[in-house]
Subunit: 422 residues, 2 copies
């Protein structure tokens, strides 16, 4: 059984939006063990849709379409699918009732335009959309299936999760795939490869290894078919060996994020953290507070963007700022100490740097960021030279800040690079 | 002339990485006026590559391939293209010299594996890759063209910029395309459609209109072929008419973001803004500080996640917090007032709410967010009922906060919904 994703939308073909729908569906299908053989992106154009659907039905067993189900004139997927299947629209009372409630609950008029969404192809199974206004549709043709979803990510994700995945699990006998992912902090991919080379070379043939690098992180994933029921055990053994080599660098597993790990570490130790941010402008606090239930370990943060806010609000000494400048070891240390005291936490992270694109100086070029960690045992600070643009430098600052905090909390040795001059 | 992008890589089909290459190429082509008719993503599999290339040559005039040019065993694009074109590899001295330098400069061995990259198909024009190790290739077949690039984004981008774009500009007479985009604050797509229906119906046939909704924003884009040199003028006229209908809702044009607009508005008025954030946890400050040069209008922010930080650090009265709870009109008003005073700004935005997934109460369900705007003329506040998950509610809070601030600064009337009970 092979699947194809067809994403419909002019906005994708002109590069207005990134196709995050395709990657998300691919991740779900990969976890289920459904191989995707092709992804096709086409315009909101009837003949292109008909051609792509025809080819997909010819080549593959399961087709997932996103986009083109809105109520506006350029949304033609539903109409085109009816042309393709040679069916007619029929009024669906359940959709009508649900949409009527949806608009009423929001104090909005259930307009004529939106009422067109109550008409659905006569040959499809309607997938009720509780997260928006366009219902999903499931079609069958000669034992093959086509599911059509709106392009709005939250709606598509909910419809896939609640209808398509259960349908796939029921309908197909899927190969029993086993995965295990390791989230590894900032080692360059090539360096990691070299470090674990002999382990990788000796992996059982049944295990496939993938390197998935992203900014500041490498995810290492083992995959195996579990035909003999032994895959999980074999993987567990290999996992132990991997830990012996790079255990300290593995901060989490599967979809765990750094901020989730930090929350768990603090929670289990009954400790707290705060931040004092200059160049990151609240990004670190935002990442930390993106984890539900973090309020027990994170009371708050100072975003001290301006000079005088660092002194008058946070409590950095004016002399320190004048003598060493905002981007300095002395200032981030004072920032971290002051934040820890004011917000009464066990740990505080302070950051000050030059995110770019402007503001670089010969001795402090764009990407220079000082980070300080105030801990129950004292304060340490480190200068970094990040290679990114503004967004990248802010992101790398957050990753370094939390990665090193993780090592501090766990009392792991800091890497050699930490003690080198940045 | 129509183009197709073919992205080759198993990692794309299992959702390991987002296809940012496709969106980047699409943006370049869109700016050039080269329409992309299809994007196809396939595996590192010879038969799939041959089939996709054959179909692309059949349907379109220009094909861009990314991926599968590395030196490892799973990179088969070059070999497969030679099979497709029926050609042989030839040694290329220029590639050899360049690679030799590349490895020497990096103190790395120019290994046998990497020397395979010096062999290139005899029928292609080699595009020297100064940014990595795999050269790009340009093939011609019956007057149509195929360009093949490595999948590493920086290498691909440099090769496209330095070779492919100049080639396209020289080789094709491109249709002069004109675009104009309007960024419209949080009107549901269907409502917007109704509001501008008669304008849309009367648009000149030459103008194509697209609705591009994303969380809390609709981008409306007019596109037109400029065959008679008049398109920009016609669009300007239509733009004026559109402004008469929804001018107040248009916050920006093209790629302008809300936070950029806010920065410009404040800068031109010599005014300043700060935030006091509870449920958004620093997200608003982060979005504002993602704009370069914003320090002149944004001194900083208080992230007051815990109760006592709201009182002891920011200065909300204990009685207010006890009597009305953290998510209340009274508390956000005090938060905004205190932040404005402490950070000495002209405006302050305060937010307190229940982002979810937990913490909802019968009278304050998940998604309830109070926002207050302190202005030179006084303070107003509004309760919102956002429908999203944690990430969505935080994002919608930021959009409402800045959208309404924009109206306040510009002294535009607030929408009817603002004055309704949320």
């Amino acid at each position: 059984m092979k699947a194809e994703i067809i994403n419909i939308g002019d906005e994708l073909l002109i590069g207005q939006i990134v196709n995050t729908n395709a990657v998300w569906i691919a991740q779900q299908f990969n976890a289920l063990g459904v191989p995707i053989a092709r992804m096709t992106t086409i315009a909101d154009k009837a003949e292109d849709i008909i051609e792509a659907v025809g080819k997909a039905f010819n080549d593959h067993e399961l087709i997932v379409i996103t986009g083109g189900l809105g109520p506006t004139k350029d949304d033609i997927t539903k109409k085109t699918l009816m042309t393709y299947f040679g069916t007619e629209p029929v009024f669906n009372q359940e959709v009508y009732d649900q949409l009527n409630n949806w608009f009423t609950a929001r104090g909005r008029e259930f307009s004529e335009v939106n009422q067109t969404q109550c008409y659905v192809p006569s040959n499809c199974k309607v997938l009720m959309n509780k997260w928006g206004t366009a219902p999903g549709m499931l079609f069958e043709k000669d034992g093959k299936y086509l599911a059509s979803f709106p392009g709005v990510p939250t709606e598509m994700k909910n419809l896939v999760t609640h209808y398509l995945i259960p349908f796939i699990e029921q309908h197909y006998s899927l190969p029993p795939l086993v995965h295990r992912s390791f989230n590894i902090e900032g080692i360059p991919e090539s360096e990691l490869m070299k470090t674990i080379e002999s382990w990788e070379d000796n992996l059982p043939k049944t295990i496939k290894l993938a390197y998935l690098p992203s900014a500041g992180i490498v995810k290492l994933r083992m995959s195996s078919l579990n035909t003999d029921g032994n895959a999980a055990t074999v993987m567990e053994e290999e996992s132990k060996k991997l830990h012996e080599i790079i255990g300290n660098d593995i901060f989490g597993y599967e979809e765990q994020t750094l901020e989730e790990i930090i929350k768990e570490l603090l929670l289990s130790r009954n400790q707290t953290l705060c931040t004092a941010e200059s160049c990151t402008g609240g990004y670190l606090a935002h990442k930390i507070t993106s984890v539900p239930g973090v309020s027990r370990v994170f009371p708050g943060s100072f975003v001290t963007y301006d000079y005088w806010v660092k002194t008058d609000i946070l409590g950095v000494k004016k002399e320190t700022l004048q003598k060493f400048g905002a981007v300095s070891e002395e200032v981030v240390i004072e920032m971290a100490r002051a934040a820890k005291e004011k917000l009464k936490t066990d740990y505080a992270i302070a950051l000050s740097g030059i995110a770019g694109p402007d503001g670089g100086m010969p001795d402090k070029p764009v990407g220079t960021v000082w980070i300080a960690w105030a801990t129950p045992k004292g304060i340490i600070a480190k200068r970094f030279a990040f290679p990114g643009d503004r967004v990248g430098n802010i992101h790398l600052s957050y990753q370094k800040a939390l990665n090193i905090l993780r090592r501090i909390i766990l009392e792991l040795p800091l890497k050699k690079e930490f003690w080198e001059k940045g």
